[in-house]
Amino acid sequence: MPKTVKKISDYETPMKPTWCPGCGDYGIWTALRMAIAELGWEPHEFLMVYGIGCSGNMANVVKSYGFHGLHGRALPVAIGAKLANKNLKVIALGGDGDGYGEGGNHFIHSLRGNVDITYIVHDNQVYGLTKGQMAPTTEKGQVTSSTPEGSIDQPINPPALAIAAGGTFVAQGFAGDTRQLSDLIKQGIAHPGFAHINVLQPCVTFNHHNTFSWFLKRVYKLDEKNHQPKDKIKAFQKALEWGEKIPTGILYQEIRDTYEQDVSELKNQNLLTEDLSKIDVSGTLRKYS
């Protein structure tokens, strides 16, 4: 089918977003559709897998095949689908409580496995849909509805964790810069392997500390002059930057075999198109005789 020029409205659905006015999620929604439109994907050509939370509610407003799974469990569904049909384009999308709290184990192990999917995380440092409790990325001392005397736990640093766990593409974007974020999503999609994009996303309703203006004063872009993403130690140093200056861009990238490349059964075939009519286990059964 010849590719037609796509617009972001080509990926809209009859449903309307349910986010609060001014939510950072709108920026991510826009950046995602910009990236896909620029890649010229047909809506039926890709699969979006969502977790549960404000981020996951994007499931109703992106025109594509979608799977709106369980809280924290978007990654295994996305990976299962990709392994079943390695030609399918798969993007998983979730939030910080969803992906780094409930689904933290899947996050770590997905980084190890390096299946060729893209994982976008809305990191608003608070629980939105359950109304303002502490998230894994909430800054220490921050008062939330579940930590009225201030959060005691040290926050997770998602990019640093991703690099340490064996991630091959670790990036950070900002919901207030859709152009840059859209480019990061495209680069993540182009990356052969698991691409993790942590998106700094202000929650206008429940996080009055990490606001748009708070971020705007702090975020800066990594470029060729100030950062080489192939250097793991330097990438780790950049990932740890938080406070006065917060880096955005590709923090770390390496090329390593994808999971699919290392599964011998996937080398020359796709599970989805295998012929089921010729299966005959008699040969194996004879070994039991």
């Binding site: 659905t13 594509s64 709106h68 799974g69 079943a84 899947h106 059964e265 299966i279």
Partner: protein, 581 residues
């Protein structure tokens, strides 16, 4: 002394790490190839070295279903084996042991003088022929066959099969070592041993356990994706499927936990391939939310639960049927699912193929419920007929390429909606864990909720109509007593039935193979036609009995329950029947 041909029980006992299960497996093959029927059963604690491990191999000319309490040959690799099991040996039976490993004092065998003690220098024979310590078992195997005066060629064949991939030298060494054990007994045992092996001609049969039967059934049923986290007694399904992956082209994924395992399988299934996951009760607990996700999104899924005694870690390497109620009701909300409990390896094979068909045809979740006894024991079985249950593929929806959205959850007459898979033009929809409308968009409207609930429930009427044999009957059509049971306990009931028949007691068995959707009509009719019913379950609270009562309003006359981590002995069932008839 009266000779007994082709009917005996062999038992071996030792520490974990002694390699006793390999020896039992080889004997099982040897006797199956000799045209006889074999069952084996092993008991072992949850550790890798030490502890007390046993394996029983029982042989008969007629089909047998479970092992008895007695044995005729006891191979003792440690003192504990002698102390614990000497009392089980039949008069004129023998203990084979190595004096270098243990001394047998009269008190250890209860001062019995009706059994023989045969010292065979396992270690020395193996070492003299260049074998490692572990090959003491091979000496024991040869010695056992010496007692039975079995033709030695049987051993050679099986050694080739077992060790061919390790090279000719290893095969030859094993054969030589077995032969030395065999000849040592022929030369040195001067008394009479009444039990004999005489090979018979038979159709080609196999000897297989529940886990391998499920693995092969799933492959034959078109499985392409299996994800799991190891848990006894389900672990060998993962390793067997992994080993066979290059041959059959499916993939296996050892995931980070059971939550991931079920979600991976759901993702693969959603994307269009036949997928399954498997675990034991504890892992199944972690999977329950995923089970509900598959139900809400109507994603085909097969889940195996090989039960072991719970709650919690319970007794990891033992058996029980305590998870029936859990799998019937697991996950929040109110949704139907299929529960099938195969009662032997043959059913495990065929029902695994059918499970994949059911899951796909009805876009539903099928739970295959087994237990450690079925999963890890082995039975001689007729060669499985791979054509008996064919793959039935769902017809994918006829899509219009230019249509915007697809009614994936269309409310059809039988509840089964047309399905598209990602990548198909014109088939766009969202599989949504939120309640949804016919397109899959989130909807909290009362009418959508009601429609989708009823649609999911309607499929189960269609499933009930699809079945031919949700219950299985054994024995005469009418009998004085009917044993009502499920899962692996069916095997012990079958063995008890053989014994009851021999005593002239007229009994039959009703096995409930498909517990959900519950075959209410068939069970009601069968129970009403029975003169006396005895419920037999390997659990504490008679879970099937409760289910029968729930669906039929009927209560079995008597019940026999066991929950000590062991399967029933057929003798226990026979005694109970005799007392209650």
């Amino acid at each position: 002394m009266k000779q007994v041909t082709n009917r005996f029980t062999w038992k071996i006992g030792g520490a974990a790490g002694d390699g006793i299960m390999v020896t039992g497996a080889m004997l099982g093959k040897i006797f199956t190839r000799a045209g006889l029927w074999v069952v084996d059963y092993s008991e072992y604690p949850s550790l890798i070295r030490g502890g007390h491990n046993t394996q029983v191999v029982q042989v008969d000319e007629e089909q047998i279903f479970s092992h008895d309490q007695g044995n005729e040959i006891l191979v003792a690799l440690n003192e504990e084996t002698v102390r614990l099991h000497a009392k089980e040996i039949s008069p004129n039976g023998v203990i084979i042991y190595d004096e270098e490993r243990l001394k047998i004092l009269p008190a250890m065998i209860g001062n019995r003088n009706d059994i023989s003690l045969m010292a065979v220098p396992f270690k020395k024979i193996a070492a003299d022929l260049g074998g490692k310590d572990i090959m003491q078992n091979t000496v024991a195997l040869g010695a056992s066959l010496g007692f039975l005066t079995a033709p030695f060629e049987l051993v050679e064949d099986v050694m080739h099969d077992t060790f061919d991939d390790k090279g000719e030298a290893i095969v030859k060494m094993n054969i030589d070592i077995a032969k030395a054990g065999y000849e040592y007994v022929l030369k040195n045992f001067k008394k009479e041993f009444p039990w004999r092996i005489k090979p018979k001609k038979s159709e080609k049969r196999i000897i297989i356990g529940g886990n391998d039967a499920i693995s092969l059934g799933l492959i034959q049923g078109g499985l392409k994706f299996y994800s799991a986290y190891p848990m006894t007694p389900a672990s060998s399904i993962l390793s067997t499927l992994a080993e066979l992956a290059p041959t059959y082209g499916h993939i296996t994924k050892h995931s980070e936990d059971e939550i991931s395992a079920i979600n991976l399988a759901i993702g693969a299934s959603y994307a269009g391939v036949r997928a399954a996951t498997g675990t034991s009760g504890g892992g199944f607990c972690l999977m329950t939310e995923g089970l509900g996700l598959a139900a809400e999104t109507e994603t085909p899924l097969v889940v195996i639960n090989a039960q072991r005694p719970g709650p919690s870690t319970g007794m990891p390497t033992w058996t029980e049927q305590g998870d029936l109620r859990m799998v019937m009701h697991a996950s929040q909300g109110d949704f139907p699912r299929v529960v099938v409990a195969p009662g032997n390896p043959e059913q495990a094979f065929y029902e695994s193929i059918r499970a994949l068909n059911l899951a796909e045809l009805f876009q539903t979740q099928v739970i295959i419920l087994t237990d450690k006894y079925l999963a890890e024991s082995h039975w001689t079985s007729e060669f499985f007929d791979i054509k008996k249950i064919k793959i039935e593929k769902e017809k994918l929806a006829d899509l219009r390429a230019n249509s915007d959205y697809f009614k994936r959850y269309l409310n059809t007459k039988n509840g089964i909606s047309p399905r598209s898979i990602p990548g198909q033009a014109g088939g766009i929809f969202t599989a949504n864990s939120d309640e949804h409308n016919e397109f899959g968009f989130t909807s909290e409207a009362g009418e959508d909720r009601k429609m989708q609930m009823e649609k999911r429930a309607k499929k189960f009427q269609a499933i009930s109509e699809y079945f031919s044999e949700p219950v299985v009957k054994y024995g005469p059509e009418t009998a004085d007593v009917t044993l009502v049971t499920w899962g692996s306990t069916t095997l012990v009931c079958q063995e008890a039935l053989r014994k009851l028949n021999a005593m002239g007691i007229n009994a039959n068995i009703l096995q409930i193979l498909y517990i959900l959707p519950f075959p209410t009509g068939l069970v009601t009719a069968n129970l009403k036609n029975s003169k006396k019913t005895i419920l037999i379950e390997n659990n504490f609270s008679a879970q099937l009995g409760g289910v029968i009562r729930e669906y039929t309003g009927l209560v079995c006359n008597e019940k026999l329950l066991k929950y000590d981590g062991r399967p029933f002995w057929p003798e226990e069932i026979v005694e109970f029947v005799k007392k209650n008839i």
